[in-house]
């Protein structure tokens, strides 16, 4: 489940941003610090994560580390539901 969701999010990032193919987007890559995700792509990315996870993302999630890595996104927005399933 974890690998599948991270893979889907990684695919989206690479499709939106061809420059991202230059990076190894691991579950721990900081997608904001590395510039893989910028402000203009962030809204679309949030839509994707919210609809996939069925949870709302707030600005404090960005100030923290949850939205900075694909692993963090999975752990914070998907993992609880996956474990309960």
């Amino acid at each position: 489940m974890r690998d599948e969701i991270i893979s889907r999010l990684r695919f989206w990032l690479m499709r939106q941003n061809p420059a991202a193919t230059d990076y190894e987007i691991t579950p721990d890559t900081d997608i904001i610090e590395t510039g893989i995700l910028d402000s203009l792509q962030l809204v679309e990315f949030i839509l994707l994560v919210e609809l996939e996870a069925g949870k709302r993302i707030l600005s404090e999630h960005i100030d923290g580390t949850w939205l900075r890595t694909l692993g963090g996104i999975y752990d914070h927005f998907f993992a609880v539901d996956a474990e309960a399933a």
Partner: protein, 283 residues
């Protein structure tokens, strides 16, 4: 910035004479008109998609209501950003000399937000959440100021086009139509001011950016425009309509020729204005 100061003085006089409390402008029925769409049918994003033919009249009516609420919510988000930016510039920076008009501007944006919020809370029961967030980035000298006003201008041009297109449709729910008319009238003044500021800032700062810098700014604005156009089509509206696979449906809607034509028409004036700025290429 002399022309900005002059425009601000004129617009301040007009605004002061015309401003009315948003709480006294409209009659607010307890429920939406059950016999009219809240949005002009061609502007309802699903109307050009094959799924439209499969929807019941009730679903189409609800699509119009939700998309109207979503459009107003999008404006609430944009106005929040705008109000924060205007407040930060009231008494410092290049626009401090126009602070009297900036206060009018703020007052009008606050009034719009009050009207949009009341509509959403009364007839939808909620405001669609704001998903726009800003990440820190580096700017060229003066670029942040220029982009702030250029993005505001693009946002208002798009919103204004949708306002006018709905206001011209005499068949839609009169309250929604009146709100569109009211917003469009105020935005016309904001746009007049915005264009003056954007042009003035471009003349002042862009020569120092070099060709590469101007290219980057043009590219950023193109991407901003495209991302904003995409935001007009919300998967959350589709989800709230009970339609399956909302993200896929959204991509299909965005690819429709009819949608592309709406995007072209809505952005035409903003694009034409920006492309007249010497050295700016929206690409």
């Amino acid at each position: 910035m002399h022309e900005v100061k002059r425009a601000a003085a004129t617009l301040s006089r007009v605004t002061a004479a015309r401003f009315k409390s948003p709480h006294q402008l409209f009659d607010w029925p307890s429920a939406p008109d059950p016999d009219r769409l809240a949005m002009s049918p061609r502007l309802i994003s699903l109307s050009a998609h094959p799924i439209w033919a499969t929807l019941t009249d009730e679903q189409r009516w609800r699509a119009g209501l939700l998309e109207t609420g979503y459009f107003y919510s999008l404006n609430i988000s944009g106005e929040r950003e705008l109000m924060m930016g205007l407040a930060a510039r009231l008494h410092q920076g290049p626009l401090a000399a126009a602070s009297e008009y900036l206060l009018h501007f703020l007052q009008e944006e606050c009034a719009h937000s009050a009207v949009f919020t009341r509509f959403c809370r009364t007839y939808l029961g909620f405001v669609y959440p704001d998903r726009q967030m800003r990440l820190p980035r580096k700017f060229l000298p003066g670029e942040e100021e220029f982009l702030f006003f250029a993005q505001v201008m693009i946002f208002e041009h798009l919103a204004g086009w949708h306002n006018m297109a709905n206001a011209r449709d005499g068949e839609i729910w009169p309250l929604a139509r009146s709100i569109h008319e009211y917003h469009a009238a105020d935005e016309a003044r904001h746009l007049a001011f915005g264009r003056t500021v954007v042009e003035s800032m471009w003349r002042k700062h862009s020569p120092g950016w070099g060709e590469r810098g101007r290219e980057q700014v043009g590219h950023y604005l193109r991407r901003y425009l495209d991302s904003l156009q995409r935001l007009y089509v919300s998967p959350f509206v589709y989800r709230d309509l009970g339609l399956p696979d909302a993200m896929r449906l959204r991509e299909e809607v965005l690819a429709l020729p009819a949608r592309k034509e709406i995007e072209r028409a809505a952005s035409a004036r903003a694009v034409a204005f920006l492309q007249r700025l010497p050295g700016l290429v929206l690409a």
